[in-house]
Symmetry: C2
């Protein structure tokens, strides 16, 4: 574990809940990041060598709903100042996954030993931000009510490829009453950088989901008779695509253990 770096600036930001959350993650004191620093944006992480980074960046550009980039590093530079005070992408997530040739080879609590001068880090928006907006509007989030992980499904919707990155869009599902589904479209449309509006609703079979009770990732949740399943593009998509591409080297976050940033969810609203 890296020795903690004291913030250089002695301003209010150093006492912000997001900064404190990152310090806790650095120190290995976070079991999960859900619920940490409410109101602050959390992000998925994907790190790739420069040689592959431009193809991945283009993949994200071509598929902004599953892969909305909220920040990225310069080549070889582990700091992303736009996302947080004193943020170090090598230490500030609780746990990482290191991939070689498509296989996970390590799951360390920091990546100091894996960092290289040619790496580029991408931070991708996550559904925590829009879920906060839905809950602020008193819409129920079933998997949170049930205390399980959100159900996620591989779909028949193909992402636009950017070789070697290609594959199906993965979606997350939240069941809602129709009037709440309409409200959820309105609310999440305001947040394009964290997946935005749903990509589908009501007819899972139309997007290749044959059994809604058997998600490909996460846990199944109850769908009541008066509810429709609502599907959002999911940040698992880029991870699945990176794994499927079997690239020589990549690093991602460990599921549920995200990067806590100093951005506020409210800042991401376009309206």
């Amino acid at each position: 574990m890296t020795v903690l770096t004291a913030p250089h600036a002695s301003n209010a930001a150093s006492t912000s809940p997001s900064y404190q959350a990152r310090l806790a993650c650095r120190a290995g004191n976070a079991e999960q990041t859900a619920g940490l620093a409410p109101g602050y944006v959390q992000g998925n992480l994907a790190i790739l060598p420069e040689k592959l980074a431009s193809a991945f960046h283009r993949f994200c550009q071509l598929n902004p709903k599953p892969c909305p980039i909220i920040g990225m590093s310069e080549v070889g530079n582990p700091k992303i100042p736009s996302l947080g005070l004193d943020l170090d992408i090598r230490t500030d997530l609780p746990r990482y996954r290191v991939w070689r040739d498509g296989e996970m080879t390590d799951e360390p609590t920091d990546i100091m030993a894996h960092w290289r001068d040619d790496l580029v880090a991408f931070v991708i928006g996550c559904s925590f931000s829009f879920e906060e907006a839905l809950m602020a509007d008193e819409l129920p989030i079933r998997h949170i009510e049930q205390g399980v992980r959100v159900p996620m499904y591989r779909t028949s919707i193909a992402c636009v490829p950017s070789a070697p990155f290609e594959g199906p869009m993965v979606v997350s599902m939240r069941p809602l009453k129709p009037k709440d589904a309409i409200r959820a479209v309105q609310i999440t449309s305001r947040f394009p950088s964290v997946h935005g509006a749903p990509v589908h609703l009501g007819l899972p079979q139309s997007i290749g989901i044959t059994d809604i009770a058997k998600p490909d990732y996460g846990d199944p949740v109850l769908i009541k008779d008066d509810e429709v399943p609502v599907f959002w593009a999911c940040g698992v998509t880029p991870q699945a695509v990176i794994a499927a591409a079997r690239v020589p080297f990549a690093i991602t976050h460990s599921p549920g253990l995200m990067l806590v940033t100093d951005l506020k969810n409210k800042q991401l609203a376009v309206l």
Copy 2:
């Protein structure tokens, strides 16, 4: 039929398609107003004696989705300058319905003979405006494709009452693919003064619609396997409520024969 009144102002507005459309309606030369003056707002009409007008106005205020008021007259004044150059509510619709004690007693082409000094005219937004926005986005409108009237249904959604006005919300239905339904929510959310976002989708039985193939007004349309029915609050609601209240006297437009205004649909967008 009233003698045509030449426009007093010799400005560009007098040659606008909307003004020309009203002249045609005045002259009895319009079979329907759908398709007249594309881009211009058309409105439903409800005229009530002052004694009932405030209760009706309150009903509209309480139920803005089915009853969005886009203009109203002063008591006894048949002009509504905010809605159109030289507009005369007594002559500028192709056909009217006159109601006494809840029964339609006349269906004249003007209401000069029925006008009274105590009447108040309400013009209520109509779905033509948001349909234009949907089509501009290349979303298909099934009843237009099929050349029939939009299907409309009485629902189990109760309007907020304002005695003697009360009753169920009437909705119109357009079938859409789920991704188009999501887009339609976004588009129509921009137009709250013409019914705004849908009130329901996907589960007709949840709002008391037992047989989607049998609309209460209009015509049935095809719903394909990969489509969901999407329901919008409908301007037939205030007409149904006025008829049900069996008020001593009221005037409405005849179905499909609306008021063409000088407002442009684009002006109604809130964003």
